[in-house]
Symmetry: D5
């Protein structure tokens, strides 16, 4: 019996290791961006029936796992508040070092409010560079203003 979304994530990752699949391939099967599909397979997003069944076929998941993929999960993928993994920590460091800068510049341009993390998309690309290739990340989030009432 598959009794939680975490179990589905473990099934997917173990199957991916066994089959030597790449996330880009998984994304093509589902027909969405690699960023969204990976997040969903890692237990952070919800798939519709067609998408979940495509994943079920690809990863040879039991029917119950396919059902779980269509249920909204409890989100938050990191085991500690300050991440220990060096790659993920660098992102936390960007928030720590540049957080107040980001805040100042968005408020200067838009006023009081936030950049949405829900109406949001992300695109990760390799940027060739003779001094060493770079990771280029494009984030796009709707600005949501606080309004007085």
């Amino acid at each position: 019996m598959v009794s939680s979304r975490e179990e589905v994530t473990r099934l997917i990752i173990a199957s991916k290791v066994r089959k030597g699949l790449k996330w880009q391939q998984v994304a093509e099967v589902v027909g969405l961006s690699k960023e969204f599909v990976t997040a969903g397979c890692l237990g952070q997003m919800t798939f519709n029936k067609t998408q979940a069944e495509a994943l079920g076929d690809l990863f040879e998941l039991p029917d119950e796992a396919v059902a779980w993929l269509q249920i909204v999960p409890y989100k938050g993928a990191l085991p500690t508040a300050v991440p220990t993994d060096p790659l993920i920590y660098r992102w936390y460091e960007i928030v720590s070092v540049y957080g107040t800068t980001i805040k100042e510049l968005i408020h200067e341009e838009f006023g009081d409010g936030i950049m949405s993390a829900i109406d949001f998309s992300m695109d990760i690309q390799r940027e060739p560079d003779p001094k060493g290739d770079r990771v280029k990340v494009l984030l796009s989030g709707k600005f949501l203003p606080y309004k007085s009432y």
Copy 2:
């Protein structure tokens, strides 16, 4: 006597409020991007002599404050490990929800290593959108591979 970089930050912010300056204007005076200049004024980056003196003139800082701006600061701009400010929290949420996704996709493309937060730049822009303008952020960090030895 100016006895710490935090004090310089407070002097700059109070002066900016009094004078009604914008970070974009400050950046133009210094001749660097608004992202770097704001981070520096908020105590996260180091300026060279010319840049520091330009800031000193603009914000009417005492000489000692101008000296502090040229000293590498203890970085980290947030008062708590999990930020409470809604705008900054959304960035932390992106790390929490998408962190493992970012990790998977960068490793898939580049192998084991990290995206540098030091050889790094950021560009924040308004992206007009009929359904509500968006905040567009471009992050660019050099990929640094782990090598076996």
Copy 3:
């Protein structure tokens, strides 16, 4: 010199104690709901020039304090992650005990997404009740869906 928004909050509260004002009266002077005005006076929201000047007159604030009220503050009003004040703790307890319930019911009705805390309003009223009056709180937040991309 007024060097931070926290100082403005202290000035306002001390002035309110001295003058014996009520938040309802303050709200009427500003012309907004008592919920928004109180949050702003406690350093969580931003006022426009007219509103800030009205507050400056009412609380006899120095000009710099009036300037600070128009600057977006670093939000988050509680000194600890788990609040110690019994009234505020009861709200934290509601999140702790009912949090997963709220999540299930909103997802069941709306699908994956959140109830906005930005495009949001709150209304607090006394509800007379023969067995003891009740606090009635109406929260209204826009539903923001996660969309696949």
Copy 4:
């Protein structure tokens, strides 16, 4: 053997996924509000014998699980003090940003005391809105005054 209430919660959720039930339907079977029933099924509330047996029939629970549903549980549904799930976090953010405001306004109206989280009810509804539907939440808690003694 069913050896804890957490196990009952897992059995209920897995059964709900398998059967494709909605909390609204579960609530109708039990004859209580969807808010109370969901909280109870998620291990936060206690059911009487009739209610527990109705749930046992609906979810095909073993007899011991039905017994557990009638035992007062150790409450608190979240895995971390600051919730990581974006939907639940927004509620925590409301407490963080508006907590002192709520405190001020309730004290202004009622004096020293709290809004009960025990003699308390909650009602969650969809509020249609041309600019995007809203989540409307009505909270009602008895005011309990501190009395001097």
Copy 5:
């Protein structure tokens, strides 16, 4: 200028040390129990005008301090979540060691609900004992039941 309730607490304690007063004497002046009066003087409870003025006379407080005593304070008297002071820690230890016992026995007698910490009183007495005097504490809190709705 007296700008916070914490300052009033410091004024009261320093004055009490200077004058060599006992809390029992303070309580008699105010006309309430020593438990309530001490809690109030330590910044946890609210006094009415007459009581606050009596305290103002006794401790020679400025007028603003007397006003603050009538304002509901942000409660919570300990500097850390787990108290370091040995006397107070023993109480925390009782909660830690006996907490689940207290929960089981109250639920067995009363059903689901809590013992109120608001509609609550405490009485601390010396209990003479030939093997060493004891501290006898009587706690009385109204039982508040959870009700289904």
Copy 6:
């Protein structure tokens, strides 16, 4: 094989749920107060051979479980430093709000020292009250003075 005291606690609770026993009945079988017996069954106290065997008979425990009941356990019954369960939290709140008051009043009466949590007993009773029954708790702990040396 029973490999820890926590397992014994789980066996006792599951057996108690199955058999529908009350702690008061358990206490009568053992011949001690319900407070001590409950704490012991929940893994906080140690029983002698006769008491442990009586519990073994009542709950149909294996011999090894009876041996574990006679071993001093690692105490501390709560899963988090700040308890999330509302009933137990109210006790933590009493420590938080009244902790310094308790400290002041015990020191005023007894001088420097503590109220023992070891040479300690507790008695929990229902106190009928027309305005709603109350939980009456009597705590008695030996005063232990700090002595200079």
Copy 7:
């Protein structure tokens, strides 16, 4: 005005630095062990009138400081839960590494109970050793048994 015991500690330490005193000399003036006197001067213990006045003369303290020394302080001398100072950390490490050992051996000898940290004394001596002198510490605490009731 001396407004807290922490201030008295700072006055004592600054005076001790200025005058080049040793704790052993301070102890002789007060007529108690160096362990108790040092703990008291660092804000952890209470002195009687004669002792406090002797300290007042020695350290040239104002009268209010002498009064504070006779008031029971809020104890706990370390700024963090896990101490960062290497000397004090070694003691924390002993508790961490040997804590369960100490527990087992005391229970084996005495049964369930604790070694008192109140009816307690400590003696710190230099133990000459050709391989490098040692710190010899003798701790003596009354055993306090848990008793069933």
Copy 8:
């Protein structure tokens, strides 16, 4: 398969409970102090081949467990940074209350440096006393000086 040192500790404790052994007896079998042997059996110290085999015979451990006893373990025996068990907490309290005192007195006698927790031994004895027996603990640690370089 025995896959960690923690498992060996569980096997030893369960076997000790079953066989009714005392640590003093275990120490005699191994030929070392009861303090060292207990710490080793609880997973904090390393045994040589002869010692490990003696323990294997006594506790009827599988060969792999005997191998694990000879491997240096990851040390630290407590489940939380601040221990919840009352006996162990009293030791933490000694560090908290007397920590700065211990630091001052060792520095006064020895200069800058630490008392080693590695070149260290401990001896726990019962000290008969007509007013109640005492736990006498002798700690001996080499002083290690910081040297300038």
Copy 9:
């Protein structure tokens, strides 16, 4: 089924204990430094196919484990933010005591930037010394400068 990298680490360690292997021997089989190979076997680094298969042969790992060794792991090897193991704690203490010193000296020599923990190598050697052998550790990390942009 091998379902996580942690499981591979457990398999390797248990096999190493059973076979009595040394890390130096493992490193020779793989053909890399003992530092890198140990880190990889403990789940912190990634191996290529040849290296992973050599480890699979040596430790008799199942095929899936060999696949996992080639997947980038979630890094971070310690169970708590402040390590409890005395050997590892000493390194944390070096960071705590010398951290700001290291920062000052590197910035003085190189300007603003960091010493890379990615383009990094470590070499641990025994340094014979008549007063007691020493652990000699050589760390080498590329300096990465912050550049203004």
Copy 10:
């Protein structure tokens, strides 16, 4: 009045900024390594009279500051348990990622024990490298074995 070692650190740093001194120059004046002198100036080490007076002359410190430099300080230079400064964090990351590796390799070579952080020295050098200069750090700490007793 200089009332704490932290104040001395602030005086030294402010003076160093004003005078544009380098740590290397400070070390030459004192006649010790730059590593030790910097650590001492930052409040982590103790100086003898001659060294302290040399620092007093160089930084134009008041006499009391010179006295404080000869007093053993409370060590620990970082404001948070997990450092936020990127340069210092990289060192924490080395402990986090390589900690268990360091432990395994030292134990393999030396047996159970630690590398001393007291009988310890550090040397930081620039290592020229055509691919970008490196920071070379040599750590040397005496091995201290655990011995059975």
